[in-house]
Symmetry: D2
Subunit: 367 residues, 4 copies
């Protein structure tokens, strides 16, 4: 119970179901004096928005966010910020057929068992639609992080099914519907997705998020480590099944002599750690990767059970992304922004008597 808030110093509390009246939330802890308007948040909402390409659900939502409080004469006042996004294209009839049965791979079964009741329309609260408000809240954090701390966050697709991305050119990422930073892979992705759609099946993906301009010192050991909070934030995104910081699972076969990043007066010579040591940021780029499972809603017929436990078959109609991983890019950026904002405020509260703000070495942004 009461699990709908994220962050300790910069706290976001959200509400809303896929086919409810609206999604909304409270952003609490934003410092005063930040210039803020709906337009600042709309940019990322539009990137996450459904119906933008033939590779995402056909559901049409403007996802227009409204700022209801906390901003006066164009600036934040330090009081809580109310956010609201009205739902428009609900089409509940699409889902009436699954009101009495559990879609495999979805949260239908677990919600029904946990609560004894569930809003089955489009998955209700368990739908990724809920993440729209995370993206809006993350937009506030993103703007503050960039303006006050010089931190920038960029996400991208690193793998889709068998197709691995080799080169990362951030200028490419937002020019294509896949958030793919590697121009040479666009055609392959296009072809793969076209075939996938025909087959009615779905595919998994790996996405990455990097934060540049990182200060050294973010993270509060031993439990509120920066990497621990990032892991929670990313694993908390719908469909994510794995999270890595830096080299991630590659470290299993690495030797210590190979993994440890050497410090020099000019900075670190490598970034295997992904910018975190002992749960605290090193000042290097922050590197995070995550794995997203394939969409569970597919038109490939399957079997399942009803609420009464009777066997039945199921074909998920409705409108779905063949690869949920793609649209998770702006969501992952938003969640990383929320974590970093929280930790920037926490670190600022410390203000050690003997604290030297300036690191003894320049932050070597080696990725």
């Amino acid at each position: 119970m009461a699990g709908n808030s994220f962050g300790k110093y910069f706290t976001v509390s959200t509400f809303g179901e896929s086919h409810g009246i609206a999604l909304g939330g409270v952003v609490d802890g934003c410092p005063p004096g930040l210039e803020l308007s709906e337009q600042d948040l709309q940019v990322d909402l539009d990137r996450r928005k459904p119906g933008t390409s033939r590779y995402t659900t056909a559901r049409r939502e403007d996802d227009e966010v409204q700022i209801l409080s906390g901003v006066f004469e164009g600036k934040t006042t330090g009081t809580s910020i109310g956010l609201l996004i009205k739902n428009k294209d609900q089409r509940s009839q699409d889902y009436s057929n699954i009101s009495d049965r559990f879609r495999p791979g979805h949260a239908d079964y677990t919600y029904q068992q946990k609560y004894g009741i569930r809003d089955y329309r489009g998955g209700g609260r368990s739908s990724a639609r809920e993440t729209a408000i995370r993206v809006a809240a993350g937009g506030i954090a993103k703007k503050y992080l960039k303006q006050v701390f010089g931190i920038e966050i960029k996400g991208f697709l690193s793998q889709l099914g068998p197709i691995k991305i080799d080169q990362v050119d951030h200028s490419i990422t937002n020019t294509n519907p896949f958030f793919c930073p590697d121009e040479s892979k666009l055609e392959a992705l296009d072809e793969y997705m076209r075939d996938l759609k025909k087959s009615g099946d779905s595919i998994g993906a790996k996405i990455s998020v990097v934060a540049t301009g990182m200060p050294v010192g973010l993270g509060e050991p031993v439990f509120d480590r920066l990497d621990a909070d990032i892991a929670s934030a990313m694993m908390g995104i719908n469909a994510v099944k794995g999270v890595e910081v830096g080299d991630g699972f590659d470290v299993v076969e690495q030797k210590g002599s190979e993994h440890r990043d050497t410090l020099t007066p000019q900075g670190f010579t490598s970034n295997h750690s992904g910018g975190v040591l002992g749960g605290i940021s090193t000042g290097q780029d922050l590197l995070v990767h995550m794995a997203l499972k394939p969409t569970s809603s597919i038109s490939v017929p399957g079997t399942t059970i009803t609420k009464q436990g009777e066997p039945t078959d199921i074909v998920t109609k409705g409108r779905h992304d063949p690869c949920v991983g793609i649209r998770a890019v702006p969501i992952a950026e938003a969640m990383l922004a929320l974590v970093l904002m929280d930790h920037c405020l926490r670190h600022r509260a410390q203000n050690a008597l003997v604290h030297s703000e300036t690191p003894v070495i320049p932050a070597a942004a080696k990725s």
Copy 2:
């Protein structure tokens, strides 16, 4: 700041440095009436204890835990439980040589920059020694989970460097110093570690934790999901760089038709999800994997910088595990126990008016 507490309903707050007077903590939220003694906690402390084999640090610590409060006439009273473990074999002189330089791969640099001061003796608070108290606290949770909810937690080594474990036989795990559940791999591990020690280098590892007897319904979306809290708990363990639930990163190349676990009146037919759907437990076995980086303290010479930013060379003497991953097994079990205890209490607080405790299908413990 203030990042040394874990859990919302079952809260553990810890203190202590590697070479300080003692490690300790407060376990708050343990229900009354549980029979509890030091012996209950010592079992796992002994499993984590250093100096037990030639593959772990030579530091000798009894790690004898004392229960200072919260237990009366052999039973918990519902009040907070104070835990204390005195440090014995400190040997601070081993570390004097690194007081003015940053060990690569360690938290020396980040602690110094964050706090402007650090206890350099054995890494101070950043040392894995701190986890002893997590293991003690986890022992309380483990006992309650087993007795009241029938949940059992078992960890094991799944890979060490190039050596992958194929079979999992829990009866083998605690019979060898590697927590290896596969008898056929013991000789290879022994040989590999012997050579590794000679070379003075270290190696990474992958370990796994499974929880059996899971109830359906644990987890509080959308942020306090069971998998999100597990990710935080595991990534918060020293040296962990990656966390997976269920199929983890394998999902990247999976099709939806392949990944989604089918429900039948007899239970789930597979467990790709790892026992979590929509952030809520399915009642299946909970499957968690994590990657641990190789020990950064190695006797292979390297270069680094001093506190003043001057270049210098470094050879980490002192006493260290060539593979920190091994002893992380009981730590990972303890952290999972803390997460599950927290969520069992949270779920119990809900007690829905319409809530049916009995799942419509039996929990198919398919792993």
Copy 3:
């Protein structure tokens, strides 16, 4: 920062300013299965509503609350509940004259100094208008407490300026604009308030809240005591300067032999404690009293300073209650409901192995 959430297990997060677009909030932790509609919440909102009598501000607000999520087919689903109340009668021009000066007794000065910026329209976030959403959230708690635990909460006026209330007849409280439970005092109150309005001044008040049907065992020592949380909730209501539980400040001159409530097989023989011992509810009626300062906005001219620190005079026009204490009655009821709801869920999470639900004596509801 981030101080706009109340409660740990039943959490209410709010936003909104006096003259903003809307007030709203997120109610997180409401168990599933509770029948809930806007009408359930409107009752108390109407009791708090301005413009209902000639003794309250002339501002006209319907205070119509909208439930935006968390309720499906008439019942709560266990997911977070979004609440929204649109502002209507804003009249910002009333306040333009105080944009550059600090109203004495108000939060104008402290908000300006703390945040460096403030929404001066009607006091912005510091206005008691914000409490409308607390009343709405409290309505959810009130319904659950009554239906599931049999707890009822009743507030009333106990003193207005020199006029002390002697008899408490709850059937009278809601029949008059003063929430006065003593019919014999209505005329005196009416006369006093009429004179007060003429004089353009304001007056303080003492109000009380009682909870009946209390279970024994609510409260989590040593810090999250029931009485400590109540004190926070009540002192957190605008204009409250003092809080008492049971005999309150009368205990200063009491002897131990006089104060301590004797237990008998039939129950307690008195209730000096106000239903709390050691921070835990006794099962007796819960008795809470609070003092509210006189409205700071009065038409009696005064002097103050400008934002630049220059002396200036001030006459607060605008629309105000001559006694803010009166309308605080439903607010205090709501806050007590939030505290009790939080503690009922917390206590339920405990579920001691040896716990006997039935007290050894009947709860003697002696007030």
Copy 4:
């Protein structure tokens, strides 16, 4: 459950029973660089210590606190600070006679009912002995507040039974066993207490705490107000039944024209508010008062019931203070220090873009 932590940014978690092995706690969030030693904390522990005069319990405890972590080479490191106070003079036999019966006015009944089990020795966790560790933790906050923010906290007795203190001379407070700041009342107090002891009865008291050197801007509306947190902290002290800020309950009969504090370029002309407006500190002295009930343990015979609900008589032997209010002075100071420390860190985290640190008027420390 889990109610043994206080504070959000500066968090104190405690454990320990009256007759257990030890009392202890974790202080989490103390900024690094503060010079700290046991001596800093011992001063207040000695003021709270029992057995110091013939007006307090004869129990002899040195209350020697040990700092177990978080301090290195005489300075705090920013990591959590472990505190320990061993119990010495337990004399459990004193209490064996009340193991099966509930002492009226004590928490025996409520603990038994809540937990189904209780440590009856000296009240176990419900004993005021637990506050020793609060005083130790508060000592850390006190030192930091004074050194970094220039805030000083002074408590004193304002009334004991019928004896009201008229003059406050802080230089007198610590020269007498009553913490009485008024020399002219010492003889009367001495006489009153001597007679009281003869009678075997106990008496209530009112104590006050003032904080000087307050910055403007502490407090986080709308729920984490400074006054709300203070109310929680004070009501959470054993035996406290009422809390006031500034004029407290006197405001009930005050007119607005009389209560509101006028601002002038030279500062406020009065301090009816007690230094808090809208839940935020004004920079004036912070004034807090509280009422403590008479000790429930008296040698005047009374009746009560057994655990089985049978009637029985009771005479509380053992060793007790005839007026618990007296020794609450250092405890109240400590709790106020914890609240202010928490809010100083919270306010520092804000660091508004447009924030002007310097108030437009000097803080007029008018009390």
